[in-house]
Amino acid sequence: MQEFKIADQTYTSRLLIGTSGYPNFHIMTESIAASGAEIATVSMRRVKFTDTSGENLFALLRERGMTILPNTAGCFTAKDAILTANLAREALDTSLIKLEVIGDEETLFPDVEQLLSAAETLVKDDFTVLPYCNDDPITCKKLEDIGCAAVMPLGAPIGSGMGIRNPYNIQIIRDLVQVPLIVDAGVGTASDAAIAMELGCDGVLLNTAVAKAHRPVLMAEAMKKAVEAGRAAFLAGRIPRKLYATASSPQVGMIE
């Protein structure tokens, strides 16, 4: 069985989880534990001098042995994303970066032009770049050629819960790129995650689907199972679709 590997680190879990939007800090930690994820995303923000009692997310995730994946959420230009990535590397002692360069606040779709340019610079600066991108095979191929450690096309807009809107594109991307393929954004429920994995994705990154579920901890567990099931189904190989039935029971020796 092929391993799930990012930047020479092998992971057992193929689920990557976000840390935002949970009803409270306690439920967040419980959900992450239930998901079995070994990689968790965080954002970088200005320190509040007036904050002396905030919970230290970094320390908490590290205590649990999680790999921390900082993102560049909120950046609209390559320049801002590059600065954020450099700050994240310094603060969190990791060269991993989930590169997001957003083109528009309402849809949160990536700005491809800025994304490619930022990816180029960051790869040159020895970052392990995991770009959040459109489900566009050409963009994904270009990101791979630049030297990104993975490609992370969206299944649907961030937080929309619309699932994998264009499975055919994901399939083409799977055929085109050799680096790990991770669906990032759009997952609404467990079957969406399973579908992504059945299409041959190496992993799924999600946040809202768990954080905003009625029972986040239970949904986290469901996602864990879905990702495992989807991966197993992909490896097992689905049968071809066809229009007419084929009986599954023997056709001979029937009782006359």
């Binding site: 976000g18 840390t19 935002s20 939007g21 949970y22 967040m28 995303t41 965080v42 954002s43 970088m44 923000r45 200005r46 320190v47 001098f49 002396t52 230290n56 997310l57 970094f58 320390a59 590290r62 921390i68 900082p70 993102n71 959420a73 600065l83 450099n86 700050l87 994240a88 590397r89 310094e90 603060a91 969190l92 961030i158 946040n207 809202t208």
Partner: protein
């Protein structure tokens, strides 16, 4: 001298290095998980004791928060 820290105007004594500035701001410079940029350039922790902040510098101090 006047500097900007995370977008806020602050008056601090001259000849401060980054380590001193954090102390003045009542932050623990040895804590894990923070990073500092001066005029959009990231300053590695190893240089916090040596690099001094100049008048009108724009200092950014950041840390990890919840994100997706």
């Amino acid at each position: 001298m006047n500097i900007s820290v995370n977008g806020e105007e602050k008056t601090v004594s001259p000849d401060l290095n980054i380590h001193d500035l954090l102390t003045v701001l009542e932050m623990d410079p040895t804590q894990a998980g923070i990073a500092v940029a001066v005029d959009r350039e990231v300053i590695p922790k190893t240089e916090w004791q040596t690099i001094e902040i100049r008048e009108n510098s724009e200092v950014e101090i950041i840390r990890a928060v919840q994100g997706g």
